[in-house]
């Protein structure tokens, strides 16, 4: 979901649109009795699953292995509020080095919200408040002394809808290194652009038309351009919010291959609503449900042998 950065009007609209879901939240958390009825909205129509869920909702503790031995980023007790409304609650999870962490869950469960905490993109949303602690290489990124500008260079982001700048392909990739002053000469800059585009698997396709507008590329190419733009500033972590949801299967396959390659150098957190995609690209999977982190574990295990009732419901297709 695209979140308008600083649009008072768009945000208000957002909030009204989501009021329904938020009241649902409250009821869910206030007590199991009220929640069973509400949860039908999520798409389960079966009487028995409702009852089972009533038990499950009572225990929303994260199950599985949230933490890794050598984490790149750590999140502890993270909660996000949009105004008074709590979007995610008490999330604790690690992002390992050189791993792809997939986040799955029904839409509106807070995956994007959590992802956007990791590079403080939520700062741009008026009325959004983040509590808890998130560390990147041991350093608290919400500490008052931390500047978001270098942070966002270290934690890059790729969005759901490809959003290249309406500038040339070259300028799209060169923009990050330029504003961060990463290069001193033009040759260096050109080299960064070439390596970034090569890593994003786009170099061969665009090397003869670097001066053409990035918006003239196909959807899949645009998304790879956005990935190249993100890696041009040599981030440590790349956040991807449903990067393939606007792409056709072939373009999706290319991005997935690319993610597998990028893992060797970066940590990647990817939000996806396609479970197959999560199982294909990720090493660990986290399942979110209505603002809670329900289960984390090695992807294999989560998909073959989920420990939580809600996870099982979701991956067996009983949930949206």
């Amino acid at each position: 979901m695209m979140v308008p950065a600083c649009h008072p009007i768009a945000t208000t609209h957002f909030q009204t649109a989501n009021r329904g879901i938020s009241t649902m939240f409250m009821k869910l958390t206030s007590g199991p009795a009220g929640s069973t009825r509400q949860s039908t909205m999520e798409g389960t129509g079966f009487a028995d699953s409702r009852q089972q869920e009533a038990g499950a909702v009572a225990q929303r503790q994260t199950v599985g292995e949230s933490f890794v031995a050598d984490p790149r980023m750590t999140a502890r007790d993270v909660a996000v509020y949009y105004g008074d409304k709590c979007a995610i609650r008490s999330i604790s999870i690690d992002v390992g080095c050189n791993e792809v962490l997939a986040m799955i869950g029904p839409s509106g469960c807070g995956k994007s919200t959590f992802l956007r905490c990791l590079n403080r993109m939520n700062d741009t949303v008026p009325g959004c408040r983040v509590t808890g602690e998130i560390r990147l290489d041991g350093e608290d990124i919400y500490a008052p002394s931390v500047d978001v500008v270098p942070l966002r260079a270290r934690v890059g982001m790729v969005f759901q809808k490809p959003n290249p700048f309406p500038k040339s392909i070259f300028d799209n990739v060169a923009y990050g290194p330029k504003i961060h002053g990463l290069t001193r000469t033009k040759a260096e800059l050109e080299e960064i652009v070439e390596t970034s585009l090569s890593k994003a698997g786009l170099w061969e396709e665009v090397k003869d038309r670097l001066q053409e507008p990035g918006t003239g590329l196909s959807g899949g190419q645009q998304q790879r351009l956005c990935i190249a733009r993100a890696i041009a500033v040599s981030p440590e972590v790349i956040l991807m919010d449903e990067p393939c949801s606007a792409l056709d299967p072939i373009a999706t396959a290319r991005i997935e291959d690319l993610i597998a390659e990028l893992r060797l150098q970066y940590s990647i957190v990817i939000v996806t609503h396609a479970m197959q995609q999560a199982s294909r690209v990720s090493q660990r999977t986290a399942y979110f449900h209505l603002g809670d982190l329900i289960e984390v574990g090695p992807t294999e295990r989560v998909f073959t042998n989920p420990r939580h009732r809600l996870t099982e419901d979701y991956i067996t297709g009983r949930f949206g």
Binding site: V3, M121, G176, V233
Partner: protein
């Protein structure tokens, strides 16, 4: 209506009955569409015909102002007239009268002579003076010189007044008509392109009146308006839209800006009078004050247009820039502003066009004074184009009628040029997605 009544039929033969039901309605829907189109077309035709009528009448009555009647005189620069060292002190009007008397030696009597002298414009003396100042060798020679005809003669030649009717009711008397006919037969009257109109300032004599002073006055005023209102308006819009916190104060400001855009312009004139002239003691009737007043008037328009332009920039672009670590300011300057610029420029030019055509606020600050000199700076007294139109429309001389229309044509030309620039800039800076 029918679908509730006959659901079973629909279920039995869904394909046929559905298309039947739609088919029954179809002619009515098409008729509605046709009706709507015709109404739209009529509206456009009516609007266009108003426009054609307006332009037609203005051009019809104004085009003749671009030609002016000249009379050829044979002037003898008698040495006896240039006794003084100072050439400008010579009696040039006397020379003009002299040459007219030589041309029509039969005219006698004070009244008749006065009529004779009134065939040429009083400016003829200045024409001679300029010639002598430029070339003193003319003294002692006789020259054939084309000088401006009087405005009544001009009107007669252009056929805007006639020599018929009772003499007492006419501006031109019988003897004058006879002289004009004689001059015409001798080929000593002709109409030429009216350069005076473009090079002179205002004048009490229609044949000497030009639009230049008003154009320059408008130019200086609008320059001030542009230089102040574009940067201030764009900055204010960027701050309000991108940086300002969303609180009561900014809401109040927003509401007030929207209100200001709807305030009648004469109020801004009063405000300017009170603040700039009475409080700050700036000089009256000057482009600097006019420009400031027009700035007050144009600012809300520019701010509103610029904010709308900023709002229309897709949020995904801001996210993209912020996402790779651009600061707020870099995001705005590098990405948002270029995309919003066409809209901002359009808004600015539309605001400027409004400022160019607005008269009321300028009346309040004294830019309605009769000013002959062409302003050469921001603090010289000046009028503006719309005010000049108002002044000429108010003048009794017949010849000012065509000048009024001509001035309107000039104003419209500037407006069209400005709007065309707006379209051009929008096309040029528009970035395709």
């Amino acid at each position: 209506m029918n679908n509730n009544a006959q659901p079973p039929v629909c279920c039995d033969t869904p394909g046929r009955s559905l298309s039947e039901r739609i088919g029954r309605d179809l002619p009515r829907r098409y008729r509605a569409e046709k009706r709507f189109r015709r109404l739209g077309l009529t509206a456009i035709v009516v609007a266009l015909s108003f426009l054609v009528f307006l332009f037609g009448s203005i051009i019809g009555s104004g085009y003749s102002a671009f030609r002016q009647t000249y009379v050829e005189l044979a002037v003898t620069f008698d040495e006896s007239a240039f006794t003084s060292e100072n050439l400008a002190a010579a009696d040039f009007p006397g020379l003009v009268k002299q040459s007219l008397r030589t041309m029509f030696p039969e005219v006698e009597g004070r009244a008749a002579l006065k009529n004779l002298y009134r065939i040429v414009s009083p400016s003829a003396a200045y024409t001679l003076q300029d010639m002598v100042a430029e070339n003193p060798k003319l003294i002692g020679t006789t020259q054939r010189i084309w000088v401006l005809a009087d405005d009544d003669v001009d009107m007669l030649i252009k056929g805007q007044i006639s020599g018929a009717g009772e003499e007492a009711n006419r501006r031109l008397k019988d003897d004058q008509l006879a002289w004009i006919t004689t001059l015409r037969d001798q080929g000593r009257i002709e109409t030429r392109f009216n350069t005076t109109f473009f090079t002179a300032g205002d004048s009490r004599e229609p044949e000497q009146a030009g639009i230049r002073g008003a154009v320059m006055g408008s130019f200086y005023s609008l320059l001030i308006t542009l230089l102040l209102s574009f940067p201030i308006g764009v900055m204010a819009a960027i701050y309000l839209e991108e940086f300002a916190p969303d609180n009561i104060l900014t809401n109040v400001i927003e509401v007030n800006i929207n209100n200001l855009a709807a305030v009648p312009s004469i109020i801004f004139g009063l405000l300017g009078l009170a603040i700039f002239i009475n409080f700050f003691g700036m000089p009256r009737s000057t482009p600097v004050v006019g420009g400031l007043v027009l700035t007050l008037m144009t600012l809300p328009v520019i701010i509103i247009a610029s904010r709308a332009a900023l709002k229309s920039v897709p949020p995904s672009i801001r996210e993209a820039a912020l996402g790779i670590g651009a600061s707020k300011m870099q995001t705005v300057i590098h990405h948002v502003l270029p995309l919003a610029l066409p809209g901002m420029l359009t808004g600015t030019i539309i605001g400027m066009a409004r400022a160019l055509g607005d008269t009321a606020p300028l009346l309040m600050i004294g830019m309605i004074a009769f000013i002959v000199d062409i302003p050469s700076g921001f603090t010289d007294p000046a009028t503006a184009l719309p005010v000049q139109i108002f002044l000429w429309a108010d003048s009794p001389e017949r010849a000012f009628t065509e000048k009024t229309s001509a001035a309107i044509m000039i104003l419209l030309a500037f407006l069209i040029a400005m709007n065309a620039t707006a379209v051009f800039l929008r096309k040029k800076f528009e970035i395709k997605w």
